[in-house]
């Protein structure tokens, strides 16, 4: 006796990313934050096109123009946001500073992510002594703050390469230092996901199919560990930018001739009591907004990628 086999109707639930995207669009704050972030990115990418002056071209800077207030106060239309103590157009400096800060943020986090993901995958998948060693290192490093580690690394690198070399390659060096400083966050998250994923039977199934371990790690496990990383990736960008700003504030970051937002603020702080408020306030506001926006994006991602909100 047999029943007529019917193809059962079932719903195809919307694809994961479509779902996230839809949830994202319905969140007004998220859209706002995202638009501002995109705006920042565009500005950073198109800095040479947008900035009215090239702040690195010292020939364009005239001390005669020093300390002009923003145009709505001074009426000087050449300098929308005014000029700094050197006569550099503040708008241009901020545009380029944003470019520097964002690049350092992105590149350093990319470096953190690549180191962290690789070590985390290896550590989580193979386990054993290597895992213990790597995670001890991660623990120790994580217990010190990124700024502290960066200061130490900075000093070490400066002493190895010499300060002059450091300043010439400050951006790459900072990326390197900040990239090294916080890989454990990625490594630990990846490792935790890998440990969880490794328990899942699809990994065993793949293994039983004879698929090589490298392929299992990268093709099967890695894609499943990605989503928490998006959140960390986003928030880390903010952290790295702040760390770079803090280093610059302490006088250890970008050189004065190629200011990042952090060094602009650091320079500006000397002017805080002097009445030339725009030199510090404007970069501060730009930095804070950037960090705020990235953190908000991190929150949004966290909410939408959370398995609790999105049932598998």
């Amino acid at each position: 006796m047999s029943y007529p086999v019917r193809e059962i109707t079932f719903s195809i639930s919307p694809r994961r990313w479509k779902h996230i995207w839809a949830g994202f669009l319905s969140d007004k704050l998220a859209v706002l934050a995202f638009s501002i972030f995109v705006f920042y990115c565009l500005i950073a990418m198109a800095a040479p096109l947008i900035a009215p002056f090239d702040p690195y071209d010292t020939a364009l800077i005239d001390l005669l123009n020093a300390e002009i207030a923003p145009s709505w106060i001074s009426g000087d239309e050449r300098f929308l946001l005014g000029t700094d103590a050197q006569g550099r157009d503040l708008l241009s400096a901020i545009v380029y500073g944003t470019r520097t800060s964002l690049s350092i943020g992105l590149l350093a986090v990319l470096m953190q992510a690549s180191i962290g993901i690789c070590l985390g995958l290896i550590s989580g998948y193979f386990g054993g002594l290597l895992d213990t060693l790597l995670m001890r290192c991660a623990d120790i490093q994580l217990s010190f703050s990124n700024i502290l580690i960066a200061i130490v690394l900075l000093a070490a690198i400066q002493s190895i390469f010499g300060l002059a070399y450091y300043q010439d390659h400050a951006m790459i060096m900072l990326v390197f230092i900040l990239g090294l400083a916080e890989w454990p966050i990625f490594a630990r998250t990846v490792r935790a996901s890998v440990l969880a994923e490794k328990q899942k039977e699809y990994v065993d199934a793949a293994y039983l199919m004879g698929i090589s371990q490298i392929r299992i790690i990268f093709k099967h496990i890695l894609p499943n560990t990605i989503s928490p990383l998006f959140v960390i990736f986003t928030i880390q960008i903010a952290n790295v930018i702040v760390a770079e700003a803090a280093l610059s504030f302490l006088g250890l970051g970008m050189p004065i001739s190629q200011p990042s937002l952090g060094s602009l603020i650091s320079i500006g702080f000397d002017y805080l009591f002097s009445g030339i408020w725009w030199i510090s306030v404007v970069p501060c506001a730009v930095l804070m907004l950037l960090i705020l926006v990235i953190n908000l994006l991190g929150d949004v991602l966290k909410n939408h990628l959370n398995p609790r909100h999105y049932k598998d």
Partner: protein, 525 residues
């Protein structure tokens, strides 16, 4: 389990506290003397840093000298209008070209109660000759001869026109107090760096390095004519300009130094706060390293750089008009000052000179500066030189590395400032202009590699020339020659700035060598 936590906590507490105690023991605790004066005032001072030692011979810096003026008295001292004033030496006379006789003040006692005698002065000058920092200055003094209890002769190797200037550095130390414990130690703890017995108006009661020094007035101070009414001083180092200013604005301190040029405008408009700025003889100059860069060997290039830099603009914009644009090294109060040498600025001519020299399209050079206001001046120079196509890779570095760069002559352009130790032009020439000589220390800061034997000879001659007119001629000739050769770019004579609550009467106590005699300060109610 809980017991364990207790033990752990206790262990931590013990470790920490034992060290706290240990450091306490090391803070100075001379006998506490109550102040007699009923009208005694307490003032709080915030400086950018505190003296590294209480030993007046350990380091030749403004901070040490300032402290020495509180704890000791010199034989002579500079007044506000840059003349010399007798202190522990009442008078003096030249016996011959090599010998000068000094007469000491009687009835002066040290903090320890010992009376001041010539033995103390002999001890002190001998010690100065051993100090690494002061050695070079006192090298010329052959011996100090004791004549009687209060009279002594100073014999020099060569005629020394600036002997009196030197005597401002002699702060007689209590030789009985320091006997056998008089080592000058740069690293490590010496007796003298923590224990003081001077003749000065103040006594240290508490010292936590990097945090605070407290002074109280010496009740047995010899100078009874002094109207000074400060009973107690609390001196705190505050490094950050903004925090220091905030401390003054929030009434936490009465007196700060320095004030960043930027903040002067704000203070001018603040009620109850006096801002004093004085032009000092500290000169800021840009050295062009001829050894390292062939381009700088061409006088046209050096001249062009001189012409391209607008000193007056730097002074107006960066230094807020408080400093003075310089066209030479010697400050106007110095003997070597040449009135005609004014800063030059002519961009067109500069460009033309560059073209003549074959560098119309310019070149790239490196430049090092220390942090702070120098870095801002450097940036201004950077953009000025960019206009004659000289591109600068500017680096601002911390002091320690800055000094290393000087020692190694590792940079093409160097921005540095120099204060004459003797209030005389020749000190500038000796260190900045003379050919580098490891042995004598001459040219130690000559990073431009300019070496002119003729000028060296003139420097040596001036050192021995007692005739003021001839000496003036010598010094002015050097200054003119340097200007003609465009060896370096003088930028400005920098200013000093203080801010204080009005009742401190700040204007009465500061001088342009950054010295203030708080012992004589009268604070109003």
């Amino acid at each position: 389990m809980k017991g364990l936590y207790f033990v752990l906590t206790l262990m931590l507490a013990t470790v920490v506290s034992s060290y706290t105690m240990a450091t306490h023991a090391t803070t100075i605790n001379t006998q506490t003397i109550s102040t007699k004066a009923t009208s005694a005032k307490t003032i709080k001072i915030a400086l950018d840093h505190d003296p590294i030692s209480l030993d007046p011979h350990e380091q030749l810096t403004e901070k040490t000298l300032q402290t020495s003026h509180l704890l000791f008295d010199p034989l002579l001292r500079w007044t506000q209008d840059n003349t010399l004033e007798a202190r522990l030496a009442t008078h003096w006379r030249n016996l011959d070209a090599h010998t000068t006789r000094f007469f000491l003040r009687d009835n002066v006692t040290f903090h320890s109660g010992n009376p001041l005698t010539v033995d103390d002065v002999v001890f002190t000058i001998e010690r100065l000759k051993k100090s690494p920092d002061f050695k070079a200055l006192f090298d010329n003094i052959l011996t100090v001869k004791k004549v009687d209890r209060l009279t002594f002769d100073i014999v020099t190797k060569k005629p020394t026109p600036l002997l009196l200037n030197l005597m401002t550095y002699v702060f007689p130390m209590d030789h009985q107090f320091y006997q056998d414990k008089d080592r000058v130690l740069k690293f490590g703890k010496s007796f003298a760096s923590y224990n003081v017995s001077g003749t000065g108006p103040f006594i240290v009661t508490k010292r936590e390095q990097g945090k605070q020094i407290d002074f109280i007035r010496n009740p047995n101070y010899w100078d009874t004519s002094s109207k000074g009414n400060i009973g107690r001083i609390e001196l705190t180092p505050i490094k950050s300009n903004s925090t220091r200013l905030a401390a003054l604005l929030s009434d936490d301190v009465d007196f700060i130094h320095p004030v960043a040029p930027l903040d002067t405008k704000r203070l001018e408009n603040t009620a109850n706060i006096d801002l004093i700025t004085l032009l000092s003889s500290r000169v800021l100059l840009l050295q062009l390293n001829q050894t390292k860069r062939a381009e700088f060997q061409d006088i046209r290039v050096r001249k062009a750089i001189n012409l391209a830099i607008n000193q007056q603009l730097i002074v107006d914009k960066v230094l807020k008009g408080l400093s003075k644009a310089a066209g030479q090294l010697s400050h106007e109060q110095f003997m070597g000052h040449v009135e005609e040498l004014q800063p030059l600025y002519n961009l067109d001519q500069a460009r033309q000179l560059m073209q003549e020299a074959g560098y119309a399209s310019g070149f790239r050079v490196s430049m090092i500066t220390s942090y702070g206001i120098n870095a801002q001046v450097a940036q201004a120079i950077e953009s000025m030189l960019a206009k004659i196509n000289i591109q600068i890779d500017l680096k601002a570095v911390p002091a320690a590395q800055y000094l290393r760069a000087i020692d190694e002559r590792s940079t093409d352009l160097l921005l540095m400032s120099w204060l004459s130790d003797t209030q005389d032009s020749n000190n500038l020439f000796e260190f900045l202009i003379a050919c580098t000589d490891e042995k004598t220390g001459f040219g130690a800061f000559n990073t431009h590699g300019y070496c002119n034997p003729a000028i060296d000879n003139m420097i040596n001659a001036a050192n021995e020339e007692l005739d003021q007119t001839k000496r003036r001629d010598l010094l002015q000739t050097i200054e003119k020659q340097l200007a003609a050769d465009a060896v370096f770019v003088p930028i400005a004579w920098l200013h000093l700035s203080w801010a204080a609550k009005r009742h401190i009467n700040l204007h009465t106590i500061v001088n342009n060598q950054n010295l203030y005699y708080l012992g004589d300060t009268v604070v109003s109610d």
